[in-house]
């Protein structure tokens, strides 16, 4: 009996340490990625990288200023499409949603969230690029915008639902109509959460490459207006990494570092905002 107990105990310890090892392995990947990018890309993230245009093929020097601005413009468009649709739908789901229809919308949003990004690219190509006869910032922004919608919907709904019901009831009791209560009480209470949801959605699509390669396309120059092809950081990383020039590889590392830094910073910041918010409201 005691032998059996010892056996069970040792199994216990072995398995528990194995799960710990799994965790360690998984988390160490993060530090590996970060360290490797800093090591390889750090020395090439310099002033030129941020202010210069890419050099012609085979010439050294140049930067990715246009790709950085390009990514920003694409994200702006994505936000213009994704935020209204996402937030209003979130409001509908949290405040009005009928049982069946609400479920249907929520479910569709989840499924849209799971659609491979390359398929979203085909979609944007078919509905924006082909009719407009133009690869454009608009097409890229549309593709990214569609991807932000489901994320924004779910986070908005979640944060609205987290607003205590007594706040709503208090507003209604004071004679406010439902929409006024939503606008003046519920939304402000959830605004930090909704904002972080939007930021997270943007951070996620900021790194998307597949939907951009045949919508936003690429551009070695500054892209003026919204109807021209435009460079973006992820597409530049993709092209430069596959290229045969050592100079391109270095720039790809640098761009990777900048992109990753942006994505992680947004994630960390939103987490900090959220945890502060939660501790305050508690």
């Amino acid at each position: 009996m005691s032998l059996r107990m010892a056996w069970r105990k040792s199994i216990n310890i072995v398995m528990l340490s194995l799960t710990g090892a799994c965790t360690l392995l998984a988390v160490s990947v993060l530090f590996f990625i970060l360290g490797y990018l800093v090591w390889h890309g750090g020395k090439d993230v310099n002033w030129n990288f941020f202010v210069k245009l890419p050099a012609p093929v085979g010439e050294s020097g140049g930067g990715m200023a246009n790709a950085i601005v390009g990514s920003a413009k694409l994200l702006l468009l994505a936000m213009l499409l994704g935020v209204p649709v996402g937030v209003l739908t979130g409001i509908y789901l949290a405040e009005f949603g009928g049982r069946t229809f609400g479920f249907l919308v929520r479910y569709t949003a989840d499924l849209l969230n799971g659609v491979p990004s390359i398929v979203i690219g085909i979609f944007a190509y078919a509905v924006v690029v082909i009719p407009m006869h133009h690869f454009s910032t608009l097409a890229g922004g549309f593709a990214l915008g569609v991807m932000t919608i489901p994320i924004t919907v779910r986070s908005t709904e979640e944060f609205l639902r987290a607003v205590p019901n007594h706040l709503r009831e208090a507003a209604l009791a004071l004679g406010a109509s439902k929409w006024k209560a939503i606008l003046t009480v519920v939304l402000p209470a959830a605004s930090a959460g909704i904002l972080t949801g939007i930021m997270l959605a943007l951070a996620r699509v900021a790194g998307e490459t597949a939907p951009l390669i045949f919508t936003a396309f690429g551009n070695p120059f500054w892209s003026s207006g919204w109807n021209e092809p435009i460079a973006s950081l992820p597409v530049m990383i993709y092209n430069y990494a596959l290229g045969a020039y050592a100079d391109w590889h270095e720039q790809a590392w640098a761009a990777g570092l900048v992109l990753l830094a942006f994505v992680l910073l947004v994630n960390i910041t939103t987490r900090l905002i959220l945890s502060r918010k939660i501790s305050v409201s508690r």
């Binding site: 702006l76 402000p188 904002l195 070695p220 003026s224 021209e228 596959l242 045969a244 020039y245």
Partner: protein, 342 residues
Amino acid sequence: MKRLRDFGILVVLLLMGGTAMGQSHDPVNLNAAGATFPYPIYSKWFDEYHKLHSDIQINYQSIGSGGGIQQLKAGTVDFGASDMPLKDELLAQFSFKILQFPTVLGAVMPTYNIPGVSAELKFTPQALADIYLGKVTKWNDSEITSSNPGVSLPGNDIVVVHRSDGSGTTFVWTDYLSKVSSEWKDKVGSNTSVNWPVGLGGKGNEGVSGVVQQTPNSIGYVELIYAIQNHLPYGMVKNSSGKFIKASLATVTAAASGAAAMMQKDIRVSITNASGADAYPICSFTYLLIPVSISDATKRDTIKGFLHWMLASGQGMVEALDYARLPQAVVGIEERQISQIQ
């Protein structure tokens, strides 16, 4: 709520800023896409041309010749570029007429990465076809060793690398293999992308030379400039007169020398496996594909202006990048062709 509103204001301001930035000056933006084979010289040309005319930006994306043809057909670019001259049946798929302008001459060569072998390998047409057909699978196969006496080749498997995208380089390569191997012609044929019997795919000239560089015992085919710039060893190929020729400006020019006469009649000529004792056998013109009628007058003038410049000063830059310049007679033919653009 306040935060949300501030956020909204920020968005509107940014948006207005972005739009204003776009409208402050009125540059001519042309979009083009296509061949990767001439990408280095095109990116040089468009960069230089932008320096000369700061209001003109020609955005060239090297997505492959197949892509250039397809995107021009779909009307998503202003002009295309291809290493494969468009045949009549392909032209019939367009809803508008196309003019084809040869820009430079290039060569495609077998490049390889065999650890321990620094000698320059010699390839017979048969050996190249059989390697790409998957019939020759080891580096020490007699088909390779017989033309390379004195070189000790390893018994390793040959890693065949080809283009994964639709590419004019692939067209030139398969066009050549089709001319020298009837088996290749029947089984595979020639096009911008084909059904490869063996091999790994790399995207673009960059992708192929990248894979070759990173993979021991591999063979790939790339444009001359990529092999030179990346210090990849590349082999000599036996031409139709039985001589092993190394690709160079002189041997490529030699291959094109007979072409001008034919191009009077039809500008689309294949110069692979050209006759001539010093002709390198795997080379070709590369083309810009320009619609005959361009309704936007500014764009039309810009394209015409660029073509004239390309045929004059532009040609002066090509040799520095290891392309062969156009024969003078061909420049004359093209100058006349420019006037057809309306």
